[in-house]
């Protein structure tokens, strides 16, 4: 691969991956905050109100980081991928502009009112600002997914005389069938991150014997939402997306599953290392016939392997794609297991005293981030070698006049900048968690110490 192409790809991959650490929590927490706020309003319960305010603070820090790391994404289509922008901008520019016009204006107006306007607004009006922030962030998610869906499965376009893609049907483009399932799947992932972060903080407080009343609300809300979202994550959203990949990107499916040779009754590989040289999985742990069942709903259905496709159409990095996909699925299964067990314990009234489970909940916090990242890597590595599936190859899309040296300069710049942002963000989030959900009277001791 030529240097410039590799660096431009790393540039986008790095900035997008780092960016998405924040919106997934923003979108997940936005939903959870609306839930907490609704209960607070209905029951007039101060604990729920304090819980809302506490998560509002966490949300605020996270939101700022999401905004500042998001702006570079909008620019990079032009700076680093200008050939792609010239080719497809008439179409994907629509959803990106709509994100700005519909979602960002709404969020930017309401976030300030939500975070700092509680005293100026009535409780109902304040609820509406929380709801508006939720709608804005979830709308924003849809426009990005619709943009990605066009790159995965282009619809609603025609090829103009100059070779560029132009819009032929707005609704076909915006309501791309690929976008529907991918959006549902992605938003379940965001809700899972939000829920697991909330229960982890609750578990941390319970294990530390601090703010127990609030901690129980966090754990309870997190477990219930996390259980629903992690189940929906697999069925129907993940399952339907898998079938879509089977139908529309069969070569991607073969690479994700590590199926080098097509066969009837294809097994599902649970563990093992893809060996491209030999065209097989090393040290496989498999479930016979399962892949055929999952993709075509028949145990002995024939599933096409990588050998059914010309090598130049194979995703470029098969091992990384395979591992991303397997990490995502493995973690997803793990989330269902622990949230179902937690829900059972909660139902029996034993969860808040089950220290072993609280430890697990606390330590699981980083894993939804890994699963979401791995999921996006699966989607985007799986799209390779195409930038717009079947229409433009990634190698043809980058900015030819931006040299490898200049691209590396800015990549290093972003790495340094984001390292500092990450450290600052973690530091400030940790301070909020340490301060806890109420400032008085429980934390008098702590503020005295801080002074």
């Amino acid at each position: 691969m030529d240097d410039a192409l590799l660096i431009h790809r790393l540039h986008f991959a790095f900035t997008a991956t780092f960016h998405y650490l924040f919106p997934q929590l923003t979108m997940g927490l936005a939903l959870l905050i609306v839930i907490l706020k609704t209960i607070a309003l209905r029951r007039n319960d101060p604990v729920y109100n304090e819980a809302t305010r506490f998560w509002g603070k966490i949300f605020g820090i996270n939101f700022v980081l999401g905004v500042v790391t998001g702006i570079p994404m909008e620019f990079q289509f032009g700076t680093n991928w200008s050939a792609f922008s010239r080719f497809a901008g008439g179409i994907i520019g629509q959803t990106l502009a709509m994100e700005g016009m519909f979602a960002f204006f709404m969020e930017s107006a309401l976030i300030g009112l939500f975070l700092f306007g509680e005293k100026r607004l009535s409780p109902k009006a304040h609820w509406w600002t929380a709801f508006g922030v939720f709608i804005g962030s979830w709308l924003s998610g849809y426009f990005i997914i619709a943009t990605d869906a066009f790159m995965q499965y282009p619809v609603g376009y025609y090829k103009a005389a100059d070779g560029s893609l132009q819009l032929s049907s707005f609704w076909a483009f915006v309501l791309n069938p690929w976008a529907g399932w991918q959006y549902a799947h992605n938003m379940c992932g965001a809700a899972t991150t939000g829920a697991f972060v909330m229960m982890a903080v609750g578990a941390f407080y319970l294990l530390s014997n601090k703010w127990s009343a609030h901690a129980r609300v966090f754990v309870k809300t997190g477990v219930i939402v996390g259980c629903i979202s992690s189940v929906l994550q697999v069925f129907p959203t993940g399952d339907s997306q898998g079938k879509m990949v089977t139908d529309l990107q069969p070569v991607t499916l073969a690479a994700m599953e590590g199926l080098f040779h097509g066969r009837p009754g294809a097994p599902l590989v649970i563990l093992g290392q893809p060996n491209e040289q030999q065209g097989r999985i090393d040290n496989p742990v498999e479930v016979p016939g399962m892949l055929s069942m999952l993709t075509y709903r028949r145990w002995n259905a024939h599933v096409r392997g990588l050998d059914a496709f010309p090598k130049e159409d194979w995703p470029g990095n098969i091992p990384l794609l395979y591992y991303s996909y397997h990490i995502m699925v493995g973690l997803g299964t793990f989330f269902i297991a622990i949230s179902v067990v937690s829900l059972l314990l909660l139902w029996r009234g034993a969860l808040f005293n089950a220290r072993w489970m609280l430890w697990i909940l606390m330590l699981t916090m980083p894993f939804p981030y890994i699963a979401n990242t791995a999921g996006w890597m699966t989607a985007e590595l799986g799209r390779q070698p195409w930038l717009v599936y079947g229409l433009m190859r990634t190698a043809d899309g980058y900015s030819k006049l931006v040299s490898a040296g200049n691209a590396m300069f800015t990549l290093i710049g972003f790495m340094g900048m984001y390292l500092v942002l990450g450290i600052l963000g973690l530091f400030l989030l940790w301070r909020e968690i340490e301060h806890g959900p109420v400032t008085a009277p429980l934390s008098n001791l702590q503020t005295a110490e801080a002074k």
Partner: protein, 345 residues
């Protein structure tokens, strides 16, 4: 249709510069105008609830440019690669400067973010001016429709121009002075006591510089690109632009010492608006001039196809009405002079 979108994007850019301009300008004068912690918090509270929304105009204008003129977006963003990346870094630093300062009440922490916020605001103002200077001066586009400029070469207007040369730096300085004045008028409008007085003094100090630089920029622009006068010669309605520019300069000078803060701020907004409209009027229908005019990018060779533009017009109009409604609501909610005490920052 493409002409309509040219003016829509132009209006969005103007909205961005006028709105984010005052919070950039507030940042530029921040260290000098606001001395105490209390004063600094008042500046931040004056821009705190609105800066993020103001900045969305940049993102929205970028997105609109992307789908309406994909070829222009592709050429200009990749050609201005280095300055755009620097702008992105500055935007990041500035945002955390504003938002993270209030989290810890320690002088060392706050001093650090004060400097980050102010320096990044100053540099952003300069870079936006430089960007405008580049667009007016023209860039080395070739037959492929692309170009790439290094940050600087020899600061002359030779065949191999850099982003920075004497002309673009001049426009950058004008942008800094203009936005500093604009920010001063805003702070004067939103605050009182010493801080408000100092902001008014700053605006007064900027005025002769603005006056002198505006005219030197006009002369310099005519000197390097005489064809900027063509549209003005053919469409005399364009002569409204210099009339409004001079009138708003005069109003600023008159209103500021009299304490008519709102009028001065409006005059400053008009002044910025008409400088930019004047530039857009001079360029039209060219959107990015090449050093060699046969490679000029115009609205015709960069616009998306008609169906996309028509559909876009429907949702854009709808969303623009919503956006304006949000702005009216937010600015009304946070109207009046800011007080310290309640709330964040």
């Amino acid at each position: 249709m493409a002409s309509l979108w040219f003016w829509i994007v132009a209006v969005m850019v103007v909205a961005y510069v006028v709105l984010d301009g005052f919070d950039l300008g507030s940042g530029a004068i921040y260290l000098l105008a606001a001395k105490t912690n209390d004063e600094r918090r008042r500046v931040l509270r004056a821009i705190g609830p609105v800066w993020d929304g103001n900045e969305v105009w940049l993102i929205a204008a970028g997105g609109t440019l992307y789908f309406a003129f994909p070829q222009l977006y592709a050429s200009s963003f990749s050609g201005f690669y280095l300055p755009l990346m620097i702008v992105l870094w500055l935007l990041i630093l500035r945002a955390i400067g504003i938002e993270f300062r209030a989290h810890i009440q320690a002088p060392v922490w706050q001093d650090f973010f004060d400097v980050v916020f102010s320096l990044s605001s100053i540099l952003l103002a300069v870079f936006f001016g430089v960007a405008l200077g580049n667009v007016v001066r023209g860039v080395p586009l070739d037959s492929s429709g692309y170009f790439f400029e290094p940050l600087w070469t020899d600061f002359k207007l030779g065949p191999q121009t850099g982003i920075l040369d004497w002309y673009t730096v001049l426009i950058g300085v004008i942008a800094l002075v203009t936005l500093s004045a604009h920010g001063s008028y805003y702070i004067a409008l939103k605050t009182d006591q010493d801080l408000g007085r100092r902001a008014r003094g700053f605006a007064l100090l900027c005025w002769p510089l603005q006056f002198f630089l505006t005219f030197s920029a006009l002369v310099a622009t005519y000197f390097i690109r005489p064809e900027v006068m063509t549209n003005y010669a053919n469409h005399p309605i364009g002569l409204l632009v210099p009339v409004v520019v001079i009138a708003s300069l005069a109003v600023m000078l008159w209103a500021n010492p009299k304490g008519k803060e709102k009028l001065a701020f409006i005059a400053s907004s008009l002044y910025i608006t008409f400088l930019l409209v004047g530039a857009a009027f001079a360029l039209y229908p060219v959107v990015l001039p090449a050093r060699d005019h046969q490679y000029d990018l115009t609205i015709l060779n960069t616009a998306a196809a008609n169906h996309g533009l028509s559909v876009g017009l429907v949702w854009w109009t709808f969303s623009a009405v919503l956006a304006i409604a949000y702005f009216v609501f937010v600015y009304r909610t946070f109207r009046g002079k800011v007080q310290v005490g309640e709330g964040h920052y």
